[in-house]
Amino acid sequence: MHVGQVISGAAHVGLIGWLILGGSFQSEPLPFEVTEVSVISTDAFEALLSAGPEPAAPTEVALPQEPQVLPDPIETPTPDTEVTSEQPQPTPEPEPETLPEPPAPEPEPEVVDEAPSLPTPETPQIDAPEVADTPVPEASDRVAPDVVEAPDPDATPDVVEQEAVTNDDGGETQAEEQEATAPEEASDQIVTEAEEPSGAPQSSLRPPSRRPSAPTRTTQTTPDTTSDPQPAAQPEDTSDAVEDALAGILGGGEDETVPQGPPLSNGEKEALRVAVSSCWNVGSLSTEALGTTVVVGVDMEQSGKPVVASIRLLSSSGGSQSAANQAFEAARRAIIRCTRDGYSLPAEKYGQWKEIEMTFNPERMRIK
């Protein structure tokens, strides 16, 4: 139990108690007036009513007279000018100009400069394929949520993609050298031998937008690689502002040493989920363990690394204890493996993620 929670709880309980019981402890009675009243019987009350004067007969109400319609004082204006209804005269068509005589053909030059024979442009294949099945993805040793193309052979397999950095001898500033890394090649489903390629095209050739024109001599220009396109401006995320405001309301009474911050945004949660998913390998699990959902608790260090000793199985469903243990082992490996440098979690919100419960549900992995 956190100190902040205790203080907050006590304060709230006190407030509720004051609101409920506060009225009983008012020291001075409010001033009030005393009015004398007498009790009478029903008969006396009836007698009082009957002794009063009778209500007067209703007077006749004069009906309102029908309003007279007054003559319209506004005179209809007369038009200043008369409107003629004549048809407009058509504009006479200009007389066609006399076409100039076509120029006489130039005499053929004596030196015959034969144009090189152009290769017949390849007719683009635009017909729909006879087999229109969905293309079958390529088989891969690794099955992951997303398809990953084969990486550069020099790249070291890693979850995070990064380019190689090598220091040039002539460089003035020396950057930290690093190896190129890339995610391993992966398919998003198991492809069996029986699922032979359907013949459906992976990408279709488009017809040319216009007839190919005669070749002209052009100067080969090198594309300008120096001007990088400006990345599109990202819409400003307003969720943080809302969460900041909420945190301001809810943040009182917490442990001062642990930065609470606002709750994690959906993006931050998603990043954590993806990081753990990429290391959750269910390939070596038994069929029963693949049908078992486990809830795993883990305490986190402020650096974003899990406290390995704190990883614990909280609950399981869908399988035997043995299967739950296997599923838990795979989940524990997933949590530990992908934290070489710690999970990328906002330090200012440490209080929100210092304890995490992860539910590993392999249901979708069974049908891969």
């Binding site: 031998e193 809810l250 390939g283």
Partner: protein
């Protein structure tokens, strides 16, 4: 008063909200990856001079077993940062984490005379702990491969949660010669194609050997007399005897019941073929089907209560299930093509089959109600599936096209991954996977 009540409700709601915010962060992981688990298997440490070569041999077989499943990937030895030089020395987990080894097998071997002793430990590298306790196996030097298989079975079991299948044997038909002059004989081998031994000569054609549940006997069909007849062979003594059969009939496609006392088989009389059951001790037979169509290839459920078989009673070859004592059968296959040679999984949840469709043969699996059919292979000719003892792998025969076509044994995981040939000295067909050895 109303204002006060409103305040109470608001404050109470506020307390619960704050409490919810202060609970642990909860996320759900529903997508993972399926890839081989990286495992390091250094050579077992020899504890005496006689064991020097044995340590490497053992580790190679263990590694081949695990990598052969497709569920594990061995990390090559030249990637190791630290070496295992002593079985009792503490493991430097950081060195193994650095090369992304998720599991580590360490062990030692001692050879004294013809006795070999192997002790080993399995480590969960990223948890800095051992996975289970250390174990020790002992046997003769001749049986060193079995010891390696047993170590691999334990490693496989502790990581996957399933029993292994490495210390098991397969009986099959070994084939030599061209298709029109093929010579066949019964052979038995380790699951990985090692230690092949021949059980019969190649004088007569032999077909469809089937292990008993205990792995001590084999049923098979032989044309020794010119007609197909069923024989039972004792694996230990290689003694065989013919099962009783009626005159003028042909009997084939035998299979043991799980109790080992009953044999089901097909019997042809004239143009009709039905399924029969025989008590192997008394020779008493019972007819289980009586349709005018062809019923054959019976296979028991693991509990012995039902039989799956193929029949063309609907006009095309399909799969049916009936009670073990005979009776009304229900059809379970409804896809396009012809289904045959059904085999019930040892787990009881799936049925493997051969399917012929659009000019190609497939090995596939379906649930016992016929749902979730999944084709695992496709080729010119795939047939004769058999299950590994743990129900995770299927072995079958694949024959290539042409007069010089050769029949080869293959195995495939039930997910359809890890299709690979089983190396045998000669061609092979009709495999039957036996139980784990004791």
């Amino acid at each position: 008063m109303m204002f006060r009540l409103l305040l109470i409700v608001m404050v109470a709601f506020g307390v619960t909200s704050v409490a919810a915010q202060n609970g642990p962060l909860r996320i759900e992981i529903t997508e993972g990856v399926i890839e081989p688990l990286p495992v390091a298997i250094p050579n077992l440490v020899p504890e005496n001079a006689e064991a020097a070569a044995m340590g490497q041999q053992l580790s190679r077989v263990i590694a081949a077993d695990l990598a052969g499943t497709g569920l594990f990937r061995e990390i090559p030895a030249d990637a190791y940062i630290s070496q295992i030089t002593s079985f009792i020395a503490p493991v430097q987990y950081a060195d193994w984490k650095a090369i992304n080894a998720q599991a580590l097998v360490t062990g030692a071997v001692t050879v004294i005379g013809d006795q070999v002793t192997v002790k080993f430990r399995l480590h969960d590298v990223f948890s800095d702990t051992e996975l289970g306790e250390g174990l020790q196996f002992a046997g003769t030097t001749d049986g060193w491969r079995r010891i390696a298989h047993k170590v691999a079975d334990v490693v496989y079991s502790r990581i996957t949660g399933e029993t292994g299948y490495f210390d098991s044997r397969v009986v099959y038909v070994s084939e030599t010669g061209p298709k029109n002059e093929r010579r066949k004989r019964l052979a038995i081998m380790d699951y990985d194609g090692a230690n092949v031994q021949y059980l019969t000569g190649s004088e007569a054609i032999v077909l469809a050997p089937r292990f008993s549940a205990d792995g001590n006997r084999v049923l098979y069909t032989s044309y020794e007399t010119g007609f197909p007849r069923i024989y039972v062979l004792d694996v230990g003594s290689v003694q065989q005897r013919v099962l009783e059969s009626q005159q003028g009939t042909m009997s084939f496609a035998p299979r043991f019941a799980p109790n080992g006392q009953t044999v089901v088989y097909s019997l042809s009389q004239g143009a009709n073929t039905d399924i029969w059951a025989m008590d192997i001790n008394s020779g008493q037979s019972q007819r289980l089907t009586s349709a005018p169509s062809i019923e054959t290839a019976p296979s028991f459920s693991p509990d012995g209560s039902q039989i799956v078989f193929e029949s063309d009673r609907s006009g095309s070859q399909q799969l049916y299930i009936m009670p073990a004592g005979g009776g009304e059968a229900r059809r379970i296959s409804f896809g396009e093509g012809r289904y045959g040679t059904p085999v019930w999984s040892p787990r009881g949840d799936l049925i493997a089959f051969t399917k012929q469709s659009k000019g190609r043969f497939h090995i596939g699996v379906m649930r016992i109600d016929g749902s979730e059919e999944r084709l695992l292979t496709a080729s010119f000719l795939d047939e004769g599936p058999t299950w590994s003892p743990n129900g995770r792998v299927i072995m079958f025969a694949r024959e290539t096209q042409g007069a010089a076509g050769r029949s080869t044994l293959y195995s495939v995981d039930i997910t359809g991954r890890n299709l690979r040939p089983v190396r045998t000295p000669e061609g092979g067909s009709d495999p039957s996977w036996g139980p784990l050895q004791r």
